[in-house]
Subunit: 255 residues, 2 copies
DNA sequence: GGACATTTGTGCGTATGTATG
DNA sequence: CCATACATACGCACAAATGTC
């Protein structure tokens, strides 16, 4: 095996084989391969993509199929196609550090982008078995569920849900809605500082809801994180599920 | 948005929406959703899956389509189905911790599985711009490329490549081939200890080569890591690219 | 054993999506 | 734009295996 797209530029080099009849259309596989090059930074913004004819040759498909892949990428805003000139890379990846002191606003702000949190909905509900275990409360105990979305420069970066024990965090939703900051929301509930205890990372296809929230073309891949934040005493203050557009973000673990 | 499959058991609860016409077949999306539940440990080994009729209802598809998803999972060994009884979970999830002291053998051994590394090929080549930057050597300087695969209980977990500066690590490949351990291979080159300086995580579809190396059904999602290991003096000793089957592994960041 | 409900397995016809040339 | 081949998805119907009463 070679990890072709990872180390070197597969899209611009030797022929890459596709997988037929595995439930994933050829045009999507090609689009994903190119998107992976962009996400990894190997195809820089402004760079010119191979011509349709060359892509068709590289992936051993009809030119119609290569065209469709480029059309999909153009619809997603990853590339821009100009008649008679070619296709060019539009987007750039955004590194997203993960660690004990992970805070969205600081991450994005540090990278020179404007950060903002957007509360979509909040409600109280009894904790499911999984939520109860993570938050260290009894199953069925009331918890606060907050659905939100976070942006950098107006582009949605992550969408997800968070759960907070009640009644301690009864005022979180309102404070978060007002400030757009999780840190400020938790502070309003008496949490001076918090740290990330653990993060689990997986990946899958975006659901239609996620696609809508992240302004993604449906069927794209999302990185999914499940994390627990605890206060200075080690008490869980937040269980979060986040979905990141794999095309726009690269998670980074330092240390 | 809801992150349905992530927070709670979507497969066994409320209806989950699929993405139509995005180049990914419905049966594969359903198979992926169930595989993710298994990988996250939310569907325990031996647990009975919902009936075909119920799955069809939940995902709003025909029973034939739900059947095909189960057939795909059965072909991958994730579930086993018995006529008149139902389908049951076969595989078990494998958490994979990532941190400064990340070592494959320890990770897998700690989880109660047998670990083993398998060298596929090794060669010397001039460093590309990316490799040179990561390893802190001059572009074009000779580096050692090692392609390998790692197993737990005989099941491929990760496949990838690593790069090492030359001439310092001229003996790495042979030592690694003999022991199947990166730690032992580095030790043979005088590296008493090493730590992981950074890890970047992204996700995309598996290439056919990766699918073959990981014994994956083609077109599945892989988590891709790029990591730099440094010695006690902070000198880079290894740049690694790894592809993990997203169905079998969940990356975990502690702290 | 019989009767019955549940669940998986199978066949067939049809419409749409995908890919080629 | 067309024609062709194949994969995907649906709907209906029925057979086969299992478990229960």
């Amino acid at each position: 095996m070679t990890l072709t797209e990872t180390g070197d530029a597969a899209v611009t080099e030797a022929t890459t084989e596709l997988t037929r009849g595995a439930g994933v259309a050829a045009w999507r596989q090609i689009a994903d391969a190119i998107a992976a090059e962009i996400a990894a930074g190997r195809l820089a913004p402004g760079a010119q993509l191979p011509t349709e004819a060359r892509l068709a040759e590289r992936f051993a498909v009809n030119r119609h199929t290569a065209r469709r892949a480029l059309a999909a990428l153009a619809a997603e805003g990853l590339v821009r196609t100009a008649q008679g000139k070619g296709s060019f890379v539009e987007a750039r990846p955004l590194p997203y550090p993960i660690g004990p002191r992970t805070r969205f606003s600081e991450n994005i702000g540090r990278a020179g982008h404007g950060a903002g949190g957007e509360l979509i909905a909040a409600r109280e509900l009894p904790a499911s078995a999984v939520v109860a275990e993570r938050l260290g409360v009894a199953e069925g105990a009331l918890v606060l569920e907050v659905r939100s979305r976070r942006l950098a420069d107006g582009v949605p970066i992550t969408a997800g849900r968070s759960y907070h024990p009640l009644p301690r965090f009864a005022g979180f939703a309102e404070a978060y809605r007002a400030t757009g900051s999780v840190t400020a929301g938790l502070a309003a509930c008496g949490v001076a500082d918090y740290r990330r205890r653990s993060t689990a990372i997986s990946a899958r296809l975006a659901t239609p809801e996620e696609a809508a929230a992240l302004d993604l073309a449906p069927g794209r891949i999302v990185l999914v994180t499940e994390a627990v934040n605890v206060d200075e005493a080690g008490m869980p203050v937040q269980l979060t599920y986040g979905a990141f557009a794999a095309d726009r973000v690269e998670l980074r673990v330092e240390g």
